[in-house]
């Protein structure tokens, strides 16, 4: 289904509850009564076309944006993506970390194994922090820089230099390995870890890992399908002017 502005906000969540985290990132809370997407966005001063673009790309992995819907600014996209990074690092990861800590503190039958799991997750957290930092500090500012030059109609020497050594397509290529550890962690718990005493807790960790992975895949898709194509078009245009 394609989500449209006259759909009820509550229906969106019924259809796909994982969208809760997406609307939260827009600063929208639950309790929308019978308001439509359009009404809720207006209340929160959110560009409704941009909102629709994001929820659709998140909800349907085959969603391809119509070109005329894509005229919102790169800054909007980048702000949203950066917020998503914060959501992972400040909310989701600590939540899972806490669950794992709890597991360590309550399961005495295999303290060593669980300590190891805990360390593994810490490592993953550091890797993720490193990865998002690079995007926040290098990739996103670059994208905004490109857009500014594009609107001005001319690349300054600084950007020209940058564009010589770097293109947004390099960024797509950098994009894979971050999910590796998450994938491993799931498999270790599902296949190899002797069952911990506290089964409910272990299941909870596992389902949180699945949710996180899904959310991250959808997040990457927004980067690759919404952000990257826009920047590529602008880069091309700017390079053309150079010649």
């Amino acid at each position: 289904m394609i989500i449209r502005q006259d759909n009820k906000m509550a229906d969106l969540i019924h259809m796909n509850y994982l969208l809760i985290s997406v609307i939260n990132r827009f600063g929208i809370d639950l309790g929308f009564r019978d308001k439509t997407v359009f009404e809720v966005c207006r209340e929160h001063h959110i560009d409704v076309r941009f909102f629709l673009e994001i929820v659709n790309a998140f909800h349907d992995k085959d969603y391809f944006p119509d070109e005329d819907l894509q005229d919102f600014s790169i800054r909007l996209i980048v702000d949203y993506l950066a917020k998503t990074h914060r959501y992972y690092l400040d909310e989701k990861i600590p939540e899972i970390e806490q669950l794992i800590d709890e597991m360590v503190n309550t399961c005495f039958n295999q303290t060593d194994n669980l300590n190891m799991l805990q360390k593994f997750f810490k490592e993953y957290k550091e890797e993720l922090a490193h990865h998002t930092k690079r995007e926040d500090e290098v990739v996103f500012p670059y994208a905004i820089h490109v857009e500014k030059a594009f609107t001005r109609g001319k690349a300054d020497p600084d950007l020209k230099n940058q564009m010589n050594g770097y293109s947004i397509t390099d960024y797509i290529n950098e994009h894979d390995n971050i999910e590796e550890k998450l994938f491993d962690l799931k498999n270790i718990i599902i296949k190899y870890l002797p069952p911990p005493k506290n089964r409910a807790l272990c299941n909870k960790v596992l389902s949180e890992l699945f949710n996180l992975e899904k959310d991250m895949n959808d997040h990457s898709r927004i980067e690759e399908k919404v952000l990257v194509p826009k920047v590529i078009v602008m880069e091309k245009q700017l390079r053309k002017q150079d010649n």
Partner: protein
């Protein structure tokens, strides 16, 4: 075993979605690409290496189909599956390895697709159950966990770094674990290496 890459060339959204849903349930299936127009289809086939191609022949209007496929060297050519009824297949100019019709019942259709996927993914029944690591692989895993590089492992075990890489690929495939730290955790859980021997 690398995952299968599949292309679905069909105008009907309904049929594409249905096929994707069915195919995505097989663990052997990796990338599924859909296309609903001929131009994109030709460029996709030229640029990618699909193992299976589901094609509705009514999709091809320009007669470019055969010229497109002549360019692909035979070992790389995908298995062609027609999205077409048995009757229409007799009239079809394209030679399909198999066809799936709109009117086939569930179990028949699923069986066909399952066989197709097992054949294309090089599945061999006797290999089932060999997800246990061999002694050689365990030894290599032990060295990975201890933090040695491929080159160092090769030198220690008198094999080439290339062979080490092949073993590593097999280990990852068998265990479903990709990262070095993940492999280390596995090695410790299975007492292939002692926790006191390494620092994680």
């Amino acid at each position: 075993m690398p995952k299968l890459s599949i292309l679905i060339a069909e105008k009907s959204y309904l049929i594409r979605k249905g096929l994707v849903l069915i195919l995505a349930e097989f663990p052997q299936v990796g990338n599924i690409v859909e296309t609903d127009n001929e131009e994109a289809f030709i460029s996709l086939v030229n640029k990618n290496n699909f193992q299976i191609l589901f094609l509705n022949p009514s999709f091809i209007r320009s007669g470019k189909f055969h010229t497109t496929f002549e360019k692909i060297p035979s070992p790389r050519a995908p298995v062609l599956i027609g999205i077409i009824s048995r009757e229409d297949n007799k009239k079809s100019q394209i030679k399909f390895a198999e066809t799936i019709g709109f009117d086939e019942n569930k179990s028949h259709l699923l069986k066909k697709i399952e066989n197709l996927i097992l054949r294309s993914s090089g599945y061999q029944p006797e290999e089932e159950g060999t997800s246990e690591l061999s002694e050689r692989e365990k030894n290599i895993l032990r060295h990975i966990a201890l933090g040695f590089t491929n080159k160092e492992i090769g030198e220690k075990l008198y094999i080439s770094a290339h062979t080490v890489i092949t073993h590593r690929k097999n280990i990852t495939r068998k265990l479903g674990i990709k990262s070095v730290s993940g492999l280390t955790v596995y090695a410790i859980l299975n007492k292939i290496v002692g926790m006191d021997e390494i620092r994680l």
